[in-house]
Amino acid sequence: MAATYGYFPGCSLKGTGAAYEESLLTLFRLLDLSLQELKDWNCCGATSYMSIDENSAFGLSARNLGIAHEAGHRDLVTPCSACYLVLRKTQDYAAKYPQIAKSIEGSPAAAALDAVKIRHPMELLYNDVGMARIKSKMVRKWKGGPVACYYGCQLVRPFAEADRAHDPTRMDELLRAVGVPTVDWALKTKCCGGSLTGTIHEVGVRLNYILLKEAARKGAKAIVTICPLCQYNLDAYQAEIRKETGEAFDMPVLYFTQILGWALGGDAKSLGLGRAISGCGSIKEWFPKRTQEVEVHA
């Protein structure tokens, strides 16, 4: 476990995913882990760059890996699934395909390919911190209903390193460690549509409708995510879905860092809990502004 981890926020965490960054930083602080944001990092390119030009797509990641390496980081924490995938893919493809390796040759990134390990906070908490430590720092009981853990696509596919590709459970385990009941459901890794909600809107919204509906059908009162785009998609269109289908889900879509952060004593503001668009009523109830710290370990 490192004292300081390198941190690559990605563009979303500075915008629509602000709550993710806030809760991540708060949670890590509560766990005595420090994150150092990469200096002058650039956008990872997400799926768009790969659709235009392959070499420059890898080049974007190469620059970021180079920055991480030069700053002496052995681990780079990447909360956004798309950034995570793109960075991992760069490492993987540069190792497999000489023509891609060639395009990175000579830059500081070439050394970074093996030297920097891409970490997702969910997997980091599971592997480096461990359930026991998280449990020991717990100070609050969960007041909310059962949740559906939603892992999305790019964290577990195609690299099933952060968790299994089929029926992943690490987020479930982390949440259950702090007393949050999770539901079993078949759509843990079913695509939310990604940027489709912005381009072919109806199709994108429908994919999220499917997720919300099944989570509710399985008895979940909230969905917990690990990716800023998934969170946004599930959060932002519930009112529209209600207009279209008549089904009011009113379901909070939270980041796992918010829930863990709360269990460990963080306050609502520093966990970005006020930034939710849907399910605000439940959020107010489950994460009251004034709380009594409940000592869990007497």
Binding site: C11, S12, K14, G15, T16, G17, A18, A19, D40, W41, N42, C43, G45, A46, T47, S48, Y49, M50, S51, I52, D53, E54, N55, S56, F58, G59, L60, R63, Y93, K96, Y97, Q99, I100, S103, S107, C153, Q154, R157, P158, A160, A165, K190, C191, G193, G194, S195, L196, G198, T199, I200, H201, V203, L207, A236, Y237, E240, G274, R275, A276, I277
Partner: protein, 200 residues
Amino acid sequence: MKKLKAFWLSSDMRRKMKFQREADLQWAQQVAERPGCEGLFSCLQCGTCSGTCPLSIYMDFGPRKIISLVREGFREEALSSQTIWLCASCYSCAVHCPRQIHITDVMYSLKREAIQQKLYPKRFPIPVLAQEFYKMVRRYGRSSEFWLVLRMALRTNPFQLLTMSGTGWQLMRTGRLRLGQDKIENVKELQSQMAGREVR
């Protein structure tokens, strides 16, 4: 008579024969040589990819048929399809494929080629978004969700901005809408790195 008339109008009776002289097998071979596209010719056409793809029900072809078109050399059909653009890169197909074909990479390589050959409908939002994203990051080193959506909407369907305004307001209210455009310091360094590698 009325019903019959409607039938004639709604069915597409264009001649749809494909002649073998239209097939470009050299192109097929060339696609198979791109990074990630190796397994192209070992496809069984089992349909697992289309079966698991969350978007296949909206696609004109679906991943399975695209693979079939590509390896038989039907370049134009494959590159001008909407299938390749609807692909959300969720990698379900690649992970389930019993031949371990990296279908997602095939899709990406077709997207790139379609952009280069300008074989997509002019106002189709997805390739437009990709291009705006590309230009923005090239210029500033960072992307701005707000400006991206704005630019894309202006280029494809400005009326979309009206329907999006509700969401826009919600994002603003919760402090999630950043109007500014971030910039990195070393833009020049990034650009020169990109210049050296670009294929365009």
